[in-house]
Symmetry: C2
Subunit: 158 residues, 2 copies
Amino acid sequence: MSKTKLDSIDRKLLDLLQVDAERQVADLAADVGLSATQCWRRVQRLKEAGVITRQVALVDRAKVNVAVTVFVAVRTNTHTEQWFNRFRATVEAIPEVVEFYRMSGDVDYLLRVVVPDIAAYDQVYKRLIAGTQLFDVSSSFAMEELKFTTALPLSYLP
Amino acid sequence: MSKTKLDSIDRKLLDLLQVDAERQVADLAADVGLSATQCWRRVQRLKEAGVITRQVALVDRAKVNVAVTVFVAVRTNTHTEQWFNRFRATVEAIPEVVEFYRMSGDVDYLLRVVVPDIAAYDQVYKRLIAGTQLFDVSSSFAMEELKFTTALPLSYLP
DNA sequence: TCTGAAATAGACCTCGG
DNA sequence: CCGAGGTCTATTTCAGA
C-alpha cells in the first residue's frame, strides 16, 4: 500500500462522489476541470488505493419500515477475550444493529439499532442479552433524525 | 406517491444493491432469477418510488484522516423553537458531524462526529458551543469501530 | 513520460414482437 | 413479458507534445 497523497482535485472528486456516485465521468471532468480520460484515471486510482472502498445504494428507512433508531449503551463486568468474542459474534449476526463501537469511559459498547417499532426493538434486545451476560443495558430512542450522511469531511486529507 | 409493495425479489435486489451498487443488471438478474430487462425495470421502479434514494461512494475513514469517532450527548434547558433552529443550523454547517438525532429521555440530542484526533475534536466542540447556549455537553470517544453498515435490515418490508 | 482525442467494447434502455 | 438492436458511456489505445 503506497503513501496515498491526495491533492485538491482528488478532494473535489471525492466530495462529488460521496454525494452521488452515479455521475458520469465526462460530467465530473467538467466540474473539476480535467479531461475525461484524466478524470477517469483519478477515480480509478482512488478505488485502487482503497480511498473509495465501494459504491452502495442508500435506502429510505421509512420505506423499508425501519424508521425507529435506538442507541444501546452496554456495560459489562466480564472483561475477558472469550466474553468479547461471543458478544461480538452475537451483535454481528443481528442485521438490525447497523453500528457497533467499543467505547472509552463509562459505557463499554455503543450500538445503533434500526427497527420498525418498540415491540421489534424488544425482540432485538432479547437477542442481545440472550447471547451473553451483560452488566447493564441502557436504550435511548431517537425521536427524529436531523442529519445523516455517509459523506466524510475532507478537510483533513493527508 | 403510491403504496410501495415490495416482494421477495425486490428484497433480494435491495440486499444486493445495498452492499454493492456497481453490479451489472445482467449479473443481478442471474442472482434473482429474472430476465435482464425485468430486473432493470425493478431497479428503476425502486428508484422512482424513492426506496433507493441514491447511490454513493463510501470512503475509507483512515485514508482521509478522520479515524476518530466521537459521540456527543447534548442537553439544553432552553426548549424554544428559536433555540432549536439556531442549534440545528450550527450543527448542520459542521461537516464533521455525520449524524444528528433528537432523543427521548435524559439526553436531548446525540451527535456522531468524525475527526483526525482529539485536538481536532476540540475545535469542533468549540464551534458547537459557540453557536448556542448548551446546558451540558458530554463527549464519548469510540476506541474501535466494530461494525458499520449502510445496509438496512429488510425483514420488516411493508 | 504524460496528455487527450478517437476507436472500441460493453452496458443500458427502448421498441417491436 | 421477453429478447434484439440502437445508443450512449466507460475504457483502452495511440499519436503527439
